[in-house]
């Protein structure tokens, strides 16, 4: 028995909620509108804001989170949650730092991070499907395990990397733009296309929209789930490689709280927490909307203690706006 308001709201044949079209569009693209509004506001409020240095810096700073959110979109759209991305990020970070300081092989160390992320993500997927545990619980538990793993690897201490060239990935530039920004652009373009243009992407939407219908349509739902968690882990590993290279040190607390920041950005972007609806660009826009608000606080010298409050209110407002068209008749 699924007798909810949403169930009955789908019963209306051939009609849409009484809602003017421009408003519907505004609702659909709320995150972009907000992004533009904040950008315009900050451009007028401070001359330091709309400079290529500042903007590139924001992109660079937030590249790891944006990469995690872009891949996290697949997890949310498939109707699942990944609460372990921060822990995967931590394990990949300390592993890379440890390998670099032990072997001195920079390339091996930085390449290890995505591989470890992929492996840990695959484990999440296998746990969720084979044991049939709700992904919220499964990844909540695995995040504890992975965090402990990160502490074990470092012995709880900070691993500082002094190896030559280790910081090239995180601090280097190519054509005047930080390398993490290039990586971000590549990852986003790839994932955007993967979700919107491929058979796999179609199956992710169907899995999240109606898993039973997807299964009966020949979609290998379990396989899709394993793949989205693997993708999410891989992205956390890539993000970790960038971050650990930038700060040249690995610590088990790295990335704490990132998993929720990523989910907040995904939802702020307009992807449905119920699955079945969403887009990669939305999550990236969500990350940078939050980032711009933070940047605004910095350059306008606002009370930084209010930063989280404002961010939280904006997320609530965006989610409430998204709900409007569904509840009003």
């Amino acid at each position: 028995m699924t007798s909810t308001a949403t169930a009955t709201s789908t019963e209306i044949p051939g009609r849409r909620a009484a809602f003017p079209r421009p408003l519907l569009l505004a609702k659909d693209y709320a995150v972009l509108i907000l992004l533009v509004v904040v950008t315009v506001y900050l451009s007028f409020a401070s001359s330091a804001f709309f400079t290529s240095d500042n903007l590139l810096n924001i992109l660079n700073q937030n590249a790891p989170l944006a990469i995690i959110a872009a891949a996290g979109t697949f997890v949310i759209v498939s109707g699942n949650f990944d609460l372990s991305t921060a822990s995967v990020f931590a394990v990949a970070s300390v592993s890379a730092a440890w390998l670099a300081s032990e072997t001195g092989d920079v390339a091996l160390a930085l390449a290890a991070a995505p591989v470890i992320g992929l492996a840990l993500g695959a484990v999440n997927g296998l746990v969720v499907t084979a044991l049939r545990i709700h992904s919220f619980l499964a990844t909540l538990a695995s995040s504890l395990v992975y965090s402990a793993l990160a502490v074990l690897i470092t012995g709880g201490a900070l691993i500082t990397v002094t190896a030559e060239g280790f910081t090239e990935l995180g601090r280097g530039e190519f054509l005047g733009v930080f390398i993490p920004v290039w990586v971000l652009a590549g990852v986003v373009a790839l994932l955007w296309f993967l979700l919107s243009g491929t058979v796999f992407g179609r199956h992710v939407f169907a899995t999240g929209g109606n898993a039973e219908a997807a299964e009966l349509s020949g979609v290998r739902v379990n396989r899709v789930k394993i793949l989205v968690f693997t993708l999410s882990g891989l992205a956390a590993g890539v993000a970790a490689a960038i971050a650990v290279s930038r700060i040249a040190s690995g610590q088990p607390q790295a990335g704490a709280g990132m998993e929720l920041q990523a989910i907040a950005a995904i939802i702020l972007g307009g992807t449905s927490i119920h699955g079945g609806v969403g887009a990669v660009w939305r999550s990236v826009a969500g990350v940078f909307l939050i980032a711009l608000i933070g940047n605004g606080f910095d350059i306008l010298d606002f009370n930084p203690q209010l930063k989280d409050l404002v961010t939280g209110v904006i997320i609530l407002a965006a989610v409430a706006l998204a709900a409007v068209g569904r509840t009003r008749r």
Binding site: S3, A7, G14, F205, E212, G276
Partner: protein, 516 residues
């Protein structure tokens, strides 16, 4: 059913009056100036095609939707703002098609939900509650175990819980939206007796349905709707099925089935052969075969295992015994993706739960099972996909013929067409149709029947399952009777009658069928 004394008599004052009620959904005029009187002690049916506005009208009476224009009066006094709570205070309750019960609570807890007897918020236990429950049972004229969890009840009993809930609120007007859509013939009969009893207590039942036989059986007056407008309100005794259909469609429609495809030569090897099939989900011993171009029906009561047979063949449930042979080769360990790849498709019975991803466009739904057909190395060609989907939409006469629109915005009949289209996209050699016309209106139903016959003529083998036995009888070449997960007889519909089949289906289990 005999009309009560004074049906339509002008001396009875209407309990609810609607004057010029209109409702817009976006750009659609869902209701256009509807006038309606509901008298005390009548069963008032609202009929019409899907999208005609009958459900919308019922929901406006119950306060689920707000009217955009016109007046609504209760007991002669016009009311202003109207919502389910206010309607409830005036004694108007609604039983929606999707029942609104809390499955994890007990029968009694659901009946008294929102009216719990409490002291400063602390629930009161003890005999007072039992007495209140008994009182509701007495009013309803039937009894359910008060401490049973609602999730354990069948649909028919869950519906009774809803009725008890409205009685616990002392409802004088009960709006029932498609109450029989998930009920068996026997359960429908029981419900109709119950509705008559409610009527005789002086209550008004608004009966929204497109099952015209049911409407003529139970209603005192019928209001026919078309395109958001009221065509007429008349005494049910003065209406017939053809007259109602003519009113709904604005033209006469023969209540017949398209001509059956030609019989298939028995020497043709079957496309599907099932021998002694068994599963852990209710299939015990099933044997049947379907030849190319043949329509084979499964006739059974709800719970007989009809749909489970379909699911087992298709691979949605695991097979524990027996064999499935498809196109001469063993279809061992069937799974949906293997079935689809082999050319064996299924239209599942539950359009929303099992069939469609409602928040995605129609195009994606129709293409879902065959997205790889339009893909190169996993990348979908939108152009090729759209071309194939649009061609299919045209063949199915999908309305509106805009495949980019979100699926939830389509009417039930058109969603069903899309669901069937989804199965046909890969040109299957064999199709299982489980309840292909459930919850669709007369026009769409006929279109779907024509489609089924056309498929058979093209040489597609079809296994047809329907709770409407007439549908199987009117379309199938042969039919297997199913009881308790077993196929126990084979009939040729042209040479028998529904009554004889029902007798056979109830068979030795007649006592079960008669149980409350």
């Amino acid at each position: 059913m005999a009309a009560p004394a004074g049906t339509g008599a002008p001396n009875r004052r209407a309990v609810v009056e609607l004057r010029g009620v209109s409702k817009w959904f976006g750009g659609t005029h869902a209701l256009d100036g509807v006038d309606l009187d509901l008298l005390p002690g009548e069963v008032h049916a609202l009929v019409g095609e899907n999208g005609a506005g009958k459900s919308t009208l019922g929901k406006i009476i119950a306060g689920v939707y707000q009217r955009d224009g016109g007046a609504l009066a209760v007991d002669g006094a016009e009311v202003g703002r109207w919502d389910p709570v206010r309607a409830g205070r005036h004694g108007i309750a609604m039983i929606a098609q999707e029942l609104a019960l809390v499955p994890e609570l007990t029968v009694a807890q659901n009946v008294f939900l929102g009216r719990e007897r409490s002291l400063a918020g602390v629930l009161r236990r003890g005999h007072g509650n039992d007495a209140a429950f008994d009182a509701v049972c007495a009013l309803a004229g039937f009894r359910l175990p008060p401490r049973r969890r609602v999730a354990e009840l069948g649909i028919a009993d869950q519906q009774k819980v809803e009725i008890m809930r409205s009685l616990a609120r002392d409802a004088r007007v009960i709006v029932m939206d498609e109450p029989t859509s998930s009920l068996t013939a026997h359960e429908t009969e029981q419900l109709h007796r119950l509705i008559a009893a409610l009527r005789d207590q002086g209550r008004t039942v608004v009966y929204v349905s497109h099952f015209l036989d049911a409407v003529l059986d139970v209603a005192d007056r019928v209001s026919v709707m078309r395109d958001g407008a009221l065509v007429r309100t008349a005494n049910a005794a003065d209406e017939t099925k053809p007259s109602l259909i003519e009113g709904m469609l604005g033209r006469p429609l023969a209540v017949t089935f398209p001509e059956r495809p030609p019989p298939v030569d028995p020497s043709v090897p079957p496309i599907l052969e099932v021998a002694h099939l068994a599963t852990a989900d209710g299939v015990v011993d099933v044997s049947l075969s379907v030849r190319p171009g043949e329509i084979v029906g499964l006739l059974g009561l709800v719970g007989s295992g009809r749909s489970e047979i379909a699911r087992a063949i298709y691979g949605a449930d695991r097979i524990t015994g027996g064999t499935v042979t498809f196109d001469g080769t063993p279809h061992a360990r069937p799974r949906p993706h293997r079935s689809i790849a082999a050319g064996l498709a299924m239209v599942p019975e539950d359009r929303h739960g099992q069939g469609l991803v409602l928040e995605r466009p129609i195009r994606e739904n129709i293409a879902l099972a065959h997205a790889t057909l339009f893909a190169t190395a996993g990348v979908i060609s939108r152009r090729r996909e759209r071309a194939a989907v649009n061609a299919l939409a045209e063949r199915l006469a999908l309305r509106p013929a805009r495949t980019e629109l979100t699926t939830s915005g389509f009417s039930g009949g058109n969603q069903q067409k899309a669901l069937i289209g989804k199965a046909l996209l890969g040109d299957p050699a064999f199709v299982i149709l489980d309840e292909p016309t459930r919850g669709v209106d007369v026009g769409a139903k006929y279109a779907i029947h024509e489609l089924v016959v056309a498929l058979a003529r093209q040489g597609v083998g079809i296994l047809l399952i329907s709770s409407e036995h007439e549908e199987v009888m009117g379309l199938a070449h042969r039919a297997h009777l199913v009881r308790d997960g077993r196929t126990f007889a084979e009939v040729v519909p042209e040479r028998t009658t529904v009554d004889r089949i029902l007798t056979a289906l109830f068979g030795a289990d007649q006592h079960e069928g008669a149980a409350p």
